[in-house]
Assembly symmetry: C2
Homo-oligomer: 429 residues x 2
């Protein structure tokens, strides 16, 4: 009989994360890099703006020429050129001269201010384009100066950041044609259970369709992994052992569902034993998912999740998700944790840390979270609406609507708080 020593979920996460080595660096084109994690610091290769430039459409002038301008006695300046963004004025602007300038264009030599186009009157003087300036302009007015936004050599984004469209813009600005990112970890998904039918097969007495395999595949993709669906274990132990062993050699991470309980066909403990794998834990003091097992073999992790859909889901999100996100190079691999107000009573006793699927909504800057279903761990239907897990610590009971609870956000990305499970205060203590 297999010995099982339950540990706390925080300890389980910690044991898993010790093996979280980021994958190799690869270089992607800027069009492909969105959604990966940056593998090096993003550093400005030039100041922004790269030159003194006009923030408006207008006329570049020498401010001293406008000293005595007034509406009664407008100052006449001769337009000696016109430059659009990307163009430069090759000469030097002299006394009582001006250059028509478009937004973003470089301030011509000699000028020290820009008058907005609406503030001047364009006139024709003896066939020469000129403008009337009606009041003085200060030196340095309406100029965006070199380096005003960003100095050269500034670290703008640190390695490990999630590459959002805003970061894509920065990468483009600073010439990152090829973007250093971590490879997506290759994750093999295997299901176990002789009761499982393929999704395209008609139902048979005693059987159910395989849903965990597809769910874990999708969870892996959401976690930033590169999922490969490898199929189903057979009912033969040796065949199953060989399949697991050969699969492990082809992937970075292996995830199985089912076969970890105490049933007669639960091969996973025996397979891990025969593999000589280092079992990090095979029991967690939590519901659902208490039989979640993780083992290490040659530096690779095998996540043996429960065959129960809810337990499988929760086990993945708490353990496999931060692990895969860390492999993908994220500086902050944990799901967001915050507090919310219960939208309904949850009166059950919680002898163990309990993670209940919840539906989260926002209302006036507050989170309201409603427990889904009855938390019967066999209920598949509540998975559809789940976008958060509600944390009920061990030793608690009788939660009422309106009470504050801790929640873990399942769909968040790129919004950083502290690490899940790693805070100072304990869970269920």
């Amino acid at each position: 009989m297999l010995r099982r020593n339950p540990i706390k979920i925080r300890e389980a996460i910690s044991r898993v994360m010790e093996f979280a080595e980021p994958t190799d660096i690869q270089y992607l084109s800027l069009l492909e890099a969105n959604g990966y994690y940056l593998a090096e610091d993003l550093i400005s290769d030039h100041p922004v703006p790269p030159f003194d430039r006009s923030p408006y459409d207008g006329f570049a002038v020498r401010s001293r020429d406008t000293l005595n301008a007034s509406s009664k006695s407008p100052k006449l300046l001769k337009v000696v050129g016109s430059i659009g963004a990307g163009q430069i004025f090759s000469g030097v602007v002299g006394a009582d001269e001006t250059v028509r300038i478009m937004t973003g264009a470089k301030i011509p030599e000699g000028c020290d201010a820009v008058i907005m186009i609406e503030a001047v009157k364009e006139v024709d003087v003896d066939g020469e384009a000129s403008i009337h300036v009606r009041r003085p302009i200060e030196s340095n007015k309406n100029i965006s100066f070199t380096g005003e936004d960003i100095e050269q050599g500034t670290t703008l984004v640190e390695s490990g950041a999630y590459i959002s469209p805003g970061i894509i813009a920065l990468l483009a600005t600073f010439g990152y044609n090829r973007v250093p990112v971590r490879k997506k970890p290759k994750v093999g998904v295997i299901v176990t259970g002789s009761e499982l039918l393929d999704v395209d097969k008609p139902l048979e007495p005693g059987k159910i369709r395989n849903s965990n395999g597809y769910m874990v595949y999708a969870q892996t993709m959401r976690a930033g992994g590169d999922a490969v669906y490898l199929g189903k274990l057979s009912d033969d132990f040796n065949e199953s052992f060989n399949f697991i062993a050969s699969s492990l050699s082809e992937v970075d991470v292996l995830i199985t569902t089912g076969g970890v309980s105490v049933g007669d066909f639960d091969f996973m403990p025996g397979i891990l034993d025969k593999l000589g794998a280092n079992v990090l834990f095979n029991k967690i003091g939590m519901r659902p998912g208490s039989v979640t097992t993780v083992a290490e073999k040659d530096g690779k992790l095998i996540f043996a999740l429960s065959g129960n859909p809810s337990a499988c889901y929760v086990g993945f999100e708490l353990l496999a998700r931060p692990f895969l996100t860390a492999l993908s190079g994220a500086k902050q691999p944990y799901l967001e944790k915050t507090t919310a107000y219960l939208g309904a009573d949850f009166l059950k006793r919680n002898p163990f840390d309990r993670f209940v699927r919840g539906n989260l909504s926002y209302n006036k800057g507050k989170f309201i979270v409603t427990p889904l279903g009855l938390d019967k761990s066999s209920v598949v239907s509540s998975l559809a609406e789940a976008n958060a897990l509600i944390v009920f610590p061990a030793g608690t009971k009788g939660y009422r609507k309106g009470m504050e609870v801790e929640i873990i956000l399942l769909e968040s990305k790129g919004i950083s708080t502290d690490l899940f499970g790693m805070e100072e205060k304990g869970e269920g203590d």
Copy 2:
């Protein structure tokens, strides 16, 4: 001179969304469907559980056989079979008989309860496997009944839902081998601006690297579109016109950046005019992005966004994002809107509705949002950390740290609230 009549952002969104027709339906395999929007209701094709089954590993019994069982006088039942999940017991269980049953297996005929494996003692009586039952069990105890979770024919998820891993599990359970989803809309991205250098080119005096094109490409992908980067408009009006016209015929939606202001090389208004496009609006009473222009030609929309990075970003998120999400078949295409507490002062006057990029964090169930940068619309750097837009309505000023403000969440997905811009109460009224 082009006439521009500014409209409110709410009205602009409404005019755009009138053209939001979902794309055609396609059928994807279950492994590919994650992240799309469901194009039909998901209906259960069978009850769940599909048969009466055991929720535990144990022994299926006839409860009346256990009526007089006690620890002093345990009842002996003969084990006449053993069934795992997916197996069925072919006979009928008779008086004082039991069947060893694994979690998920079908309750054998004749039995009406399951005793958990830990609650019995397995004994050998004259070479025959038997168990000792130490107390009576009620009829119907420890049985998951047919249809207890879900009845056949139930609508579980409505058309237009975002397909999350939980919904993937439901689709698998109910045999959706091919999943009906809307095609990703094909979106052409074109940049304008003679000052723009390709990202792999060294800097030149007066020029900057093209960042908007890559940013809008990434924003389009985040919005669920299928982006195609088409390149840069030339400085020649007729060439540019032909490029826009031919590009439009190859995509579902066209997005351009730049060329919509009043500069000498701002071709977009002229091109839209020559196309005979129906201009929905060419000025919005908001900052940044007031020159954002949207036009319709033969039922397709052209989003002519500002060339200023921040204005381009905001114009995309407020107008193009919900449009693309609606084309992808989402029932709720709008970004989440909620309230948050300001993390810093924002003292500027807001003569127009203002959308300031903000960084959002969670703290004890509350949102704290910190305005980024100085909101100088040329500042690229603040885009990196933006995960929310703060809404400062027209006619307001002097927002202080700790005050409540409306925000729009940029990274949310699948968490539903009301529609952005469509509420009863007005913005800036």
